[in-house]
């Protein structure tokens, strides 16, 4: 028994070492950081212990702007992307011809570099001295004036960010929902058809309940992912997100840690813990709702 024990721990050793150093220790450390007031990175000293860091972060206009941006992003993109993914998956599921081709195309954004494609989006939406950009040309066809989506009004920038976020998250959702829809047994549909059930009723009474576990899984992971939005914004608006007024909570954490306004790990820790608390709360609410509605 003793020999066996030793051997097992030996197999586990690398994983435990790495997890200990880069997950467990940081987890404890981040709590400590967030409580150390006036921490100085250079001298590694601090004045006292308390909740001042939290208070600073919560009163920082940049943080409040980041929270506002993040919440708007979450509220718009999660329902829209999930709904649109469901629509596309239903459409995919109702056809045979070219189905695989469409599925493959839709998945393409998943494997592309968010930063790289973000640049393309920026160019498509940007208005500069030489050109109004392709999107603005399209808008002109409908009689709308040129808008600078990248450096212009807040609503326009938010629109691009949401649009790009949805473009990035759709592949995963479409993939999951298509396979969920495909796994609903044809027998149910046949039975419903024999009873002359109308299509809408088939959808609400058979299809939706059958895929509800996956749908809720997507909503929950969608919320978590959207709250952690960062690189999409960087791709569109550059690294100085505070200046663009488009920072996100995660962006705020990184900016506090590093970069032009960086060097404040205590503020970063406090902000990260606030984000964690928000995500945890939302996830719990989601889970409670899903307990009531999901049919397993």
């Amino acid at each position: 028994m003793g020999k066996n024990n030793l051997k097992a721990w030996l197999y586990l050793l690398p994983a435990i070492l790495f997890l200990g150093a880069f997950m467990v220790y940081p987890l404890i450390d981040v709590l400590i950081y967030s409580a150390e007031e006036g921490y100085n990175s250079a001298s590694q000293t601090y004045f006292g212990v308390g909740l001042y860091n939290y208070s600073y972060v919560l009163h920082d206009p940049y943080f409040l702007q980041a929270v506002k941006n993040t919440f708007i992003l979450v509220i718009i993109t999660v329902p829209l992307s999930t709904g649109f993914a469901l629509l596309i998956s239903l459409a995919l599921n109702s056809i045979k011809w070219l189905r695989n081709l469409f599925q493959t195309i839709y998945f393409l954004p998943y494997v592309t570099n968010t930063l790289a494609v973000g640049l393309v989006f920026m160019i498509l939406f940007k208005k500069n001295a030489y050109t109004d950009g392709l999107v603005n040309l399209m808008l002109r066809l409908f009689g709308a004036g040129p808008v600078d989506f990248i450096d212009g009004p807040y609503a326009a920038k938010m629109f691009v960010l949401c649009f790009y976020t949805i473009w990035v998250v759709l592949p995963f959702k479409i993939l999951i929902l298509t396979s969920a829809l495909a796994s609903v047994k044809q027998d149910y549909y046949n039975a419903a058809r024999i009873d002359a059930t109308p299509k809408w009723r088939i959808f609400t009474r058979i299809t939706l309940p059958m895929i509800s576990p996956m749908l809720f899984y997507l909503v929950i992971t969608g919320f978590i992912g959207a709250f952690k939005a960062y690189s999409d914004a960087v791709a569109l608006f550059g690294t100085d997100l505070n200046a663009a007024g488009m920072n996100t909570i995660v962006g705020y954490v990184y900016d506090m840690l590093y970069g032009d306004s960086g060097g404040f790990p205590s503020y970063a820790s406090a902000a990260a813990l606030i984000l964690f608390a928000i995500v945890l709360t939302i996830t719990c609410i989601n889970l409670i709702i899903s307990k009531k509605h999901v049919h397993y």
Partner: protein
């Protein structure tokens, strides 16, 4: 009233309704396929337009009569694109192979060996799955900085060579191998390590391939950690390179060259995807998370 014609009418109506439905469905699908593909088309198109042609088009053209590869040469000359490429390649290969090594050993211990405290340790591992990266990255940044590992490959790689989720995925897969196989091997005098190498790993190869592909995608696209840990251009990965190009490269407005760089960076993963698209999609739907 002729029953025959009544029946025909109903049938015809049903047919029309079905056709209309099909047209609407395909219209939707084609629309989104266009939305997905258009940025890729635009990126390739812009990358082959000459600098002067691009900037003289107040109204961008949807095709170009004189494609040029000049932008690609510019991209490789003006910034160290080749260097970023090599860095990312090394980072991806090393990180992925070390991770596979670590998770295979851990998954084997959890699935096949009996030891005291196993369920406790495993529960602890599972709990770690809930910890978001944002929470631990702060200390990791400090740790790596204090160890003097900024702007080194070691610093880039170390924090991302374990994944609790992949350990879990692999352990579940290992456990599906029938107990009898292990017994048969034991009776034949096979050691645990040999059983792992000769039997478990070959049987679970599909899962290992999935994990590898997912990790490769993750590595190739990783941005946040490399950005924190490298400010020396010699250690930039492609994502940071792109950002660098955007902020400082090409005198800001050389968009065709920028697009050429974007194409070059995107191509490896797209090729990987086109070859393995079935495997990748099956793997992601089983164990992927993003978004």
């Amino acid at each position: 009233m002729d029953h025959r014609s009544e029946f025909d009418r109903i049938e015809r109506n049903a047919k029309i309704r079905k056709t209309v439905f099909k047209v609407v469905v395909y219209a939707l699908l084609v629309f989104w396929a266009f939305m997905v593909l258009f940025p890729f088309y635009w990126m390739i198109l812009s990358s082959v337009k000459s600098y002067s042609a691009y900037n003289s088009e107040h109204i961008p053209k949807f095709f170009t009569a004189e494609p040029t590869l000049q932008n690609y040469f510019d991209a490789f000359e003006a910034v160290s694109l080749g260097r970023y490429f090599l860095n990312t390649f090394l980072f991806t290969v090393i990180t992925t192979s070390v991770m596979i090594f670590v998770i295979v050993l851990a998954a084997f211990a959890f699935s096949r060996l009996d030891f005291r405290g196993k369920s406790l340790v495993f529960t602890f591992f599972l709990a770690l799955m809930m910890i978001p990266n944002e929470l631990v990255i702060i200390t990791n940044f400090q740790t790596i900085t204090n160890l003097g590992l900024r702007n080194t490959f070691l610093g880039l790689i170390l924090p991302s060579v374990t994944s609790v989720f992949y350990i879990y995925l692999l352990k579940e897969n290992f456990e599906q191998i029938p107990e009898e196989l292990y017994k048969a091997a034991k009776v034949d005098g096979t050691s645990d390590l040999k059983y792992l190498l000769r039997v478990m790993i070959p049987i679970c190869r599909p899962t290992l391939i999935t994990v590898t592909i997912l990790k490769v995608i993750e590595c190739w696209n990783s941005y946040v950690w490399p950005r924190l840990i490298t400010d020396d251009e010699a250690y930039f990965l492609v994502s940071n390179g792109i950002q660098e190009i955007r902020e400082n490269g090409f005198g800001r407005e050389n968009i065709p060259a920028m697009m050429a760089a974007v194409v070059v960076i995107s191509v490896p993963l797209i090729i990987l995807f086109l070859i393995f698209h079935k495997k990748i999609m099956a793997g992601v739907s089983r164990g992927g998370t993003k978004g």
